[in-house]
Amino acid sequence: MGTNTPCASCKLLRRRCGKDCIFAPYFPSHELHKFAIVHKVFGASNVSKMLLELPVHQRPDAVSSLVYEATARVRDPVYGCVGAIWHLQNQVSQLQMQLVVAQAEILWIQMKREEAAAAVLLPQNGSEPYGNERALAHLHGESIIELPHELIVEDFGSDSSNYVSVQRVPLSTI
């Protein structure tokens, strides 16, 4: 052994820790447990191959994720960190349902608001045919221009039908 302290992997594997040891930057000698756990699950040669396939700047993150996975596997030999993935996926599904419910509530309340606003603005005798339309436009922040009746009103259906459509004329067209 040289004058340098061997890294955790070389200590555990009982070998000389050379200057170019692939493990030395990521498994310092005082963190024996980290290497022990990845060696137990993945094996030193597999870890070495995985690190060699990566550029140097990505190796620290790779080591951290390998330690995480190995720890999860030792704690739960059946599911490893797949157990955590399933748990999180269930949480996501539940939250998505909660969001849909909350959004449906908003739609329902918006409908109720529009009905309430229309009820307030509609006069009792019903003489103004465009009351609801104007109330809704007001709610939506739109501006409509009152044009002469003969220019804008179209009748649909039979004479007995009171349905008319009103053409909105945006202010920008004037």
């Binding site: 699950v41 993945f42 094996g43 040669s45 597999n46 995985m50 396939e53 990566l54 990505q58 993150d61 790779a62 951290s64 994720s65 390998l66 995480y68 996975e69 596997r73 030999p77 059946v78 599911y79 490893g80 960190c81 797949v82 157990g83 955590a84 993935i85 999180l88 996926q89 949480q91 996501v92 939250l95 998505q96 909660q98 969001l99 909350a102 959004q103 509530e105 908003i106 309340i109 918006q110 109720k112 608001r113 309430a116 606003a117 009820a119 307030v120």
Partner: protein
Amino acid sequence: MPIGKFMMSGAGSRCAACRYLRRRCSKDCIFSPHFPSSNPQRFAYVHRIYGASNVAKMLQRVSEFERSHAADSLHLEAKCRVEDPVYGCVGLISRLQRQIHNLESEIAMTRALVMMYESSLDRRKGSANGH
């Protein structure tokens, strides 16, 4: 090539692990129930990440009933690691955690809007009744 070297166990063919490792597949092969020859990729992933002997040790560590679940999870983790050599399935965990955080924020905002609309609706009803 001597035929005896590739003696089949029973009436079936070798499992994917024994095919990959080029060895005899015995009746009590620990891999064969979980790595069928119809899916060679499944064993290829776990062998690449864990190695055959580590997989065998991990399967032996759990009860027979739980081995299929263990094999499935090992396969999933190995596949994630092959697809993402830096983060493996830890990358998926991070993404799910971020998704949960975003959903919780959105739910909180939506519920705040619901409360705001409900109180404005109550005010409108109140003013309508007052007339």
